[in-house]
């Protein structure tokens, strides 16, 4: 009687196993990392370099300016005006959009017949092109021929110059962007609401908590992490507003909607001053970064569920 001896591969040590897992994980994220490196980090580094020079797309690199372009930005009244317009837009849009989206999410979270259609209807603008809807809304807002003014006139309200009145232009544009983006925010908040266990509400109900108390003491605290994501991403997105400005107002009337990214675009492609455009881009990058960090700090949640 003979005994067959099989060669057994030695087991991996924990360190080796960890290394192998890291390698596999790295392979999975490599495409995304490559994408980030090529289309995010490299342009940022290029912009940082260009911001130190006189640089135009056609003329190439000119004089080295060191921090001269940054000093120029600090003295540029249009830059400050554009920043103010951008901040106004963010402050008008983000709170209204988040509150509206939360309301819609609370309403549409109920599983009743036809609710899927309602959710789809609210979400539909999200999948449409921003340029297309901007052009359509600009036509709707037109002082003489627009649908909105026709409705106002039929109600006995005088016509409004939505896009040619410096007071009305930014709010009018903000309304359109909220309509466009609220569906996305609603879906994210809806997912957050679905993740909250019913047990909390049942327990609160037994304790006699009202609907409002349930919302205030259960829903909102447990939604804080999702809210943080929504607020940060919407703030970043709003700081970068460009397409509606470009398609609806071109920064007008009288610079009332000249948001910072449109101003950067003008310098890069209309005024042939890519160096200064890069400088402004870097400044905006740091502003957005700072605002996001502050938001993360303020809205940090200690509640786990």
């Amino acid at each position: 009687m003979t005994t067959a001896v099989t060669a057994i591969r030695p087991l991996l040590t924990p360190a080796q196993r960890r290394r192998r897992e890291y390698l596999v994980a790295l392979l999975f994220v490599l495409p995304a990392l490559t994408n980030f490196a090529a289309f995010r980090y490299f342009p940022i580094i290029s912009a940082l370099r260009a911001s130190l020079w006189d640089y135009s797309l056609l003329g190439g690199f000119g004089n080295f300016r060191a921090l001269g372009q940054y000093a120029r930005a600090l003295e540029d009244p249009v830059f400050w005006h554009s920043m103010r317009v951008t901040v106004e837009f963010v402050l008008l849009k983000v709170p209204v959009q988040v509150v509206l989206a939360l309301g819609l999410a609370l309403v549409t979270q109920r599983e009743v017949r036809g609710m899927g259609v309602v959710r789809s209807a609210i979400f539909t603008p999200v999948v449409t092109s921003m340029i297309v809807v901007s052009i359509v809304w600009a036509m709707m807002y037109h002082a003489q021929q627009g649908l909105v003014n026709s409705i106002l006139v039929s109600l006995g309200i005088p016509r409004q110059h939505f896009l040619s009145d410096p007071v009305l232009a930014l709010p009018a544009m903000t309304v359109m962007t909220i309509w466009k983006d609220v569906g996305f925010t609603m879906i994210i908040l809806l997912a957050g609401l679905k993740g909250i266990s019913h047990e909390y509400y049942e327990a609160a109900a037994i304790d006699g908590a009202s609907r409002f108390q349930q919302l205030w003491y259960i829903t909102l605290p447990l939604l804080k992490r999702v809210m943080l994501f929504v607020v940060v991403t919407q703030t970043i997105q709003s700081f970068q507003v460009f397409a509606p400005v470009y398609a609806m107002t071109r920064g007008g009337p009288q610079d009332a909607t000249k948001a910072i990214v449109y101003y950067i675009y003008q310098h890069a492609f209309s005024f042939q001053d890519m160096g200064y455009a890069s400088t402004l881009s870097i400044i905006v990058l740091f502003i957005i970064l700072t605002v996001s960090l502050v938001q993360m700090r303020v809205l940090r949640s200690d509640v786990e569920h």
Binding site: G62, S164, D165, P166, P253, F271
Partner: protein
């Protein structure tokens, strides 16, 4: 490495051109000196060749390009039958950024529809190939001298012209007849601005009584923006011939203080603002195709409007007329128009050159005119066009071109100026303080154009 090599080559080319320029008669443009050296015959192509052509988004013009291509393919016994065009149509406001980025990134691009005032900018920045040596004296003489000058930079031809232009005041006869207005038919009897304003007031009509005109008195320029081509006329018109206001920019091409912001220029732009907000004869928010859709009685426009009307009303139901462009002190229309340019990026130069020669030649220009109906730059075809003879329907445009036409301001930074001017005029039309707006525009333009200092020195 490549960039450095290109840089070195361009410096070398610049030095060579400077050396050559010093040995030649300075007053004679290079295009006129090419007679001695006959242009090389383009090599016949073999396979299918598609030329990528960035063009202005305009229905009549795109139709014209396609018809010119058909004729080109049949020309010279079908020698160019395998050449095709891939037209990339871009809205006017986007044309320059599109060309700029395409060149900068080395994108495949063969032909460019280039706006006249920007030709010098393109030449200065080496966007276009110099073409002077490929055209004989006889060939260059077929074009209007102003077009030739506009398509040239430092005496070198960079782009043969597609057409010429001069804006007049077109009107809808249905509305002028209803208002009992008979606009002058002779250029020397043209209305002054106050006289034109009276006509615009009479033709502005609110038919349904909702407080908003259904027919506006006038649209001041093509498209829906206030570009320099038409809007830049007002300020220059309010200056005496030769004055700084009339010139619009200093001879150095980059100084605007004392030219764009003179009291006369400000007065003219105040009048422009009042047309919108005080007299309310033109809408603050522009209405697309307002004249063709019969919502405006008058329109300041070149005669390409005739092409659009012919296309939209083939039964001739739109009865139009033309009168001289109104003026303050000096009657002015801006001249110049589109040019063909061959990109420095092209790898199909022979085919591109052959197409440009054909398109800007007699046959191509005739096809263009048949579709677009704007003043030809090719002088040879005027004999075939009775509408430009005395008493013809479009004769005022030709008379205007020759008698009151001036090129737009000459600067290599025209594109930057164009953008600032557009913003300034738009802001003024919506109620901005005219003086402050124009002074701010001067500051911004001069800051942006500082880099061109010394551009026109040989």
């Amino acid at each position: 490495m490549m960039r450095r090599r290109l840089g070195s080559l361009s410096v070398l080319a610049l030095i060579c051109s400077l050396l050559l320029a010093t040995t030649e008669h300075p007053a004679l443009p290079a295009v006129l000196k090419a007679e001695a050296a006959p242009a090389p015959t383009p090599t016949p192509p073999r396979g299918k060749v598609t030329l990528r052509f960035i063009v202005n988004q305009n229905d009549e013009q795109i139709i014209a390009f396609k018809k010119i291509l058909e004729a080109f393919q049949k020309s010279e016994g079908g020698k160019w039958a395998n050449v095709d065009l891939a037209l990339e149509a871009v809205p006017f406001a986007e044309l320059f950024p599109k060309i700029l980025t395409s060149v900068a990134v080395g994108a495949e691009m063969d032909l460019i529809q280039a706006d006249g005032p920007v030709m010098k900018h393109y030449a200065f920045n080496r966007v276009l190939q110099p073409l002077g040596k490929y055209f004989t004296l006889r060939e260059t003489r077929q074009w209007h001298p102003a077009s030739l000058a506009e398509g040239s930079f430092r005496g070198q031809l960079y782009g043969p012209p597609i057409m010429q232009s001069c804006s007049m005041l077109m009107y809808n006869r249905e509305f002028t007849d209803a208002a009992g207005i008979r606009p002058p038919t002779r250029l020397d009897e043209s209305w002054t601005m106050p006289q034109a304003l009276e006509a615009w007031k009479k033709t502005t009509r609110d038919l349904n009584g909702d407080g908003v005109p259904d027919i506006w008195g006038v649209r001041l320029g093509q498209g829906t923006t206030y570009a320099d081509y038409e809007t830049g006329i007002w300020r220059r018109s309010n200056g005496d011939k030769g004055s700084n206001t009339f010139k619009g920019v200093a001879d150095d091409g980059i100084t605007f203080r004392g030219y764009l912001d003179t009291p006369e220029a400000i007065e003219a732009m105040q009048f422009f603002q009042d047309l919108h907000l005080v007299h309310k004869v033109t809408p603050v928010e522009p209405i697309p195709n307002i004249f063709e859709s019969k919502k405006a009685a008058f329109m300041v426009t070149p005669d390409n409007r005739v092409g659009a009307i012919n296309r939209l009303y083939p039964d001739g139901s739109f009865k139009w007329g033309v009168t001289g462009i109104p003026y303050f002190k000096t009657q002015v229309c801006h001249t110049g128009s589109w040019h063909y340019g061959i990109s420095v990026n092209t790898k199909k130069f022979n085919e591109a050159l052959a197409f440009v020669k054909f398109a800007a030649g007699r046959e191509g220009s005739r096809i263009w005119y048949n579709n677009v109906r704007q003043l030809p730059a090719n002088l040879e075809i005027y004999n075939e066009l009775p509408e430009y003879r005395a008493g013809g329907q479009q004769d005022l445009f030709f008379e205007g071109l020759t008698k009151v036409g001036v090129p737009r301001i000459q600067t290599p930074g025209y594109q930057e100026y164009f953008q600032f001017f557009l913003e300034m005029a738009t802001n003024i039309s919506t109620g901005a303080n005219v003086k402050q707006e124009m002074e701010a525009a001067v500051r911004r333009i001069e800051a942006a154009l500082r880099r061109y200092s010394g551009w026109n020195r040989q």
